[in-house]
Symmetry: D2
């Protein structure tokens, strides 16, 4: 931490700041400039709060220096993290595509969509059984029955299951059926949930909050990692800005920034980050071109009848075209689509 | 809902949209303009999803018309909602001031601060026992022991207790000790929590998420109201913008906008909405001038030693000056500070 | 400026940074921490560009320290700047209210509005003769004829004239008729215009750009001040955020922040900062409560027929009520409305 | 335009709105719903101002329907606009790369950079002779001498020249030397400048303002187009958001959105949209993958010594790698880099 004194700070004010720093067991380095004195604080700054100094007279500016996250940082782990989910490699040289409906609505819809995702080249199936909805009057998901349908879809297609967990008490049942627990954007700073998911040791897809900074996303990941759960994927899903032409603004910069700051895999969700199916494929291509390790895409066999987010869902044939185009872009950046999972025994290819 | 067709939409495209609307059991009104045809949808639009139409060819724009919240709206309840908390009137002509430390840190700190709040003219005591913290390594609150200290402070000062509840499982213990449950900004769209708090029938202070729209805040309130819990206060606590001179941007416009859209009481939190003690009093005055029904302010007897948010906490003497100035502004807008609660029996004034 | 080295920076990398700093004729102070080395740069940092160092290996973070503006800063001039415009005091203990139509539309409209502003208690008249419009097809203002009408209104009412100047070539004609040149939000970083207005030595009302930071506003003021023109008023007129319930978000925090960083007078424009007449009076009160030195308000005798911004204009009777309420709030914060200018000789009061 | 009445609007209020619409010579279509009445306005809505109705009692919401731009729209011109600049094709199937220093600093720097851009595969040379700078104390550009150097660079390399014009009086001299006039982000709504550039009939690169909506960018283009100047390129250069990890947020969504709304070519500026050289190549790839028609990139032979924006400038060898990678991505989306311009006669290849 650096504390910059005002140009007219007195010697007493400077000494008072130095004393407080030393009272925390830390050392200072004083730098007296032509205009200002700067007090550098040496040691583990996690033991002091920058806020402590706000009330002291004579201070112009307080600047933290060390990053507040550790386990998530490239400085701590320089190699890319990669792991497998039911054999599907995540975070290495290959690119994964997770796809499926926003909500699990009924058996026919889900199984049809799952087969379509498999045939189009997808690697895992997404689908919400517990749905966070802005309105209390909107469809809230099928709950455990939705999870059962997802598990049935995995049996038929071999696709791993990614589904959202909204509260601590849902974790056991979600673990019983799914392969990856998704933390939704609205829960990125639900610390009770992050703790519990960290303890679960289950793979996590952590979505960035719609107005969370990249640093806050990494701090949320740090919560999960701090419990020893290392299988964390970060997901950029668009941020909230003044622009209203799209539902959110895809923060494509976040892809190379995250790849530089952290070793964790980065997934892009072009469906939520644009909010309109017509832009999904272009942004999916952009995400892979920017260096993302995968995509999560909304697909629905009948988007016009979807109970949620139909407007941003792709029909299966458009999704197949997305996979094809994304594969071409992946090759242009020296990557390739991951191999699809093996079909379950007894299922005809 | 209005569906605006593209200028070159065909008759078939128009008919297809009309058919889909009617399939939902609704009626349409067609308006054929010089440039475009507009399809008005008549009936309860909550039964259709605007998203349903995104995939239909020939559509230029879809505009919802009815507001998606009902119980929270002025159209539904035109009179201001007011209620009492342990005798303290909220939402009427008087103005309430809630104050206290960010976190309950220890017995001495809390009781000293509570007495200082009482002496300065405050009406209720805030203090966090369960703390949502960006970093997993930061102080997370004293938990139930913190709640016990808050209850002891109430016994000594007569101040009602406002404290945050972060997860469903904390609700019973918080209800045992506190008078108002605060939903923090990061949990404004934690729907599991909103449901449970709604069912609790306990008074709620609902903070706006840092990037939640005013409409989303009202939708979150609707979750609580839909369980029959009508004692809801809305709290503007600053939104996230590009400006970095302050921690957040106080959306002062939200005060008159909320007063116009809803009957619920509106509270301003100038401590979080500015992030720096030096600006808190000016913004507190502004909030009351704009029509807010109350304030929630961070006060700490030793802010420089606070374990969280010390930089935005007022010392007791500055808080007393805030109460004095806010009282003068309240009078200028034909309101007055609420009477302080009676001292508990046996406590010397 | 502080340069923070990465935790694994080599001694060669540190030495290279030090050499570059010294090559600029500046001195360094080295601070070696447990985790990182920090290089403090001593001297006038305006001679070095932080960008110079971005390419050097081993650097983690670069932090400027000195503020980039000088003449506008409280550190340079600690006393509030105040001056008079045709006898009207600006920036002292009293509060000024500028009001009038968005655009000068015709003689009747302008003169009626000017008299209404005068009668309601206003101090100066605003009105646009040159209008920046988003659409090339919208009304672009009456030009010099509009300025003539403004001058006629001054003759009849004694109100000083504030009007926008959009380009360098308009400056001479505007100076011929008006008392204060307004730089609009869209031109806040039109440096050619800022230079020319600075050289004019004419009073300036400088509006904050809709996404300009407070620091950028002060830098724009510095452009004007650097030509020796000290009569600059800063105007907060709302910033662009994600919230769409209002046209802009009033950055009420900017009022106390500006009063702390600069000695220049601060004016609030609640008409643009809300975009809807129904919220203007509440936000005008809030601005004065927060410490603003004045207001600029849109008033129109027939807002429903206005050629621009009618929706945010107040009718004269509502404006009179605004002045009354603002006067009460001003008194509550120990200020008062400025005295109205004397009526011109020969004009019956 | 659609006017939605409040649920409790009276018949008189509805009739009053209808009368006002008809007074503008337009027709209405009334749609009476279960909850509300909606008044559709038929005819050229550019003759009425939505603001006109804001003051009328009983109105809940006003929604414009027609787009406010025409010449820029795909509805008006469905085919992609393409044109050539000194033989360089813009806006067709090929992709162009404009590159060069932020500022023209001296003859050696510029000519070295120009040759490096040519050798790396660039198509045109950018470089500022007139520089908009946040600080009045910063380097403001070489002016006409800078333009002379740019023209000399064109003679030596065959690269067309793109340079910024900041004010109307600079247009003639810029036209004398350059091939494309750039309107900078800060001047996107400098309407005097847009008019004059429109009248010049000179090719224009129009940068999006840092907080301009996509619609406002198209309205700014409409200003230029309305003077018959059709050679307009739109440039996404990042928008201002809450995220501070990068200088701006690349609005990658804007690429497919613009390609859908307008026929004009779309260029991406990854240097300004990220603000750091380390992210430029990844975002350049993303831009082409998303469908952009070209790039404008900052390149400097000695970025660490650049007088402006050195931190986001690429060294020539990194730029050459960018061109190579962008070429691979272009091929993956069925496009190719434009052929480089012929070398001037007498210049050895």
């Amino acid at each position: 931490m650096m504390i910059v004194m005002q140009s007219d700070a007195t010697q007493e004010q400077i000494s008072a700041v130095v004393s407080r720093v030393e009272a925390n067991g830390l050392k200072v380095h004083l730098s007296r400039g032509a205009e200002r004195t700067v007090i550098g604080i040496v040691g583990d700054i996690r033991v002091v709060q920058p806020d402590q100094f706000n009330h002291m007279p004579g201070i112009a500016q307080i600047t933290p220096i060390s990053r507040p996250y550790k386990l998530a940082s490239r400085e701590f782990i320089s190699e890319d993290t990669h792991f497998t989910i039911n054999g599907l490699p995540v975070g290495g040289s290959s690119v994964v595509v997770v796809a499926g409906p926003c909500s699990v609505e009924d058996r026919t819809q889900l199984l049809e969509t799952a087969h379509a995702v498999r045939e189009a080249g997808g690697h895992a199936l997404r689908g919400g059984a517990f749905k966070p909805r802005t309105s209390p009057y909107a469809f809230q998901g099928l709950g455990e029955y939705g999870l059962e349908l997802l598990a049935e879809a995995r049996e038929q297609t071999g696709l791993s299951i990614v589904t959202e967990v909204m509260s601590v008490d849902q974790i056991p049942v979600v673990m019983q059926y799914a392969d990856v627990m998704q933390i939704g954007a609205r829960n990125m700073q639900n610390y009770s949930l992050l703790h519990a998911v960290g303890e679960s040791q289950y793979p996590v897809l952590l979505k960035r909050g719609m107005s969370a900074t990249i640093q806050e996303l990494l701090m949320a990941a740090e919560y999960v990692l701090s419990h020893g759960n290392r299988r964390v994927m970060l997901c950029e899903r668009g941020i909230r800005t003044f622009e209203t032409a799209t539902r959110n603004t895809t923060d494509i910069n976040a892809v190379p920034v995250l790849k530089s700051l952290t070793h964790l895999p980065v997934i892009l969700d072009p469906s939520h980050s644009t909010g309109h199916w017509a832009y999904v494929t272009a942004i999916a291509r952009a995400g892979i071109a920017a260096g993302a390790d995968g995509l999560i895409v909304e697909v629905h066999t009948h988007p016009e009848a979807a109970m949620s987010d139909g407007g941003q869902s792709l029909k299966p044939e458009r999704f197949a075209e997305l996979v094809r185009q994304v594969g071409a872009v992946a090759a242009a950046v020296n990557r390739e689509l991951a191999p699809q999972p093996a079909l379950p025994a007894g299922v005809p290819g």
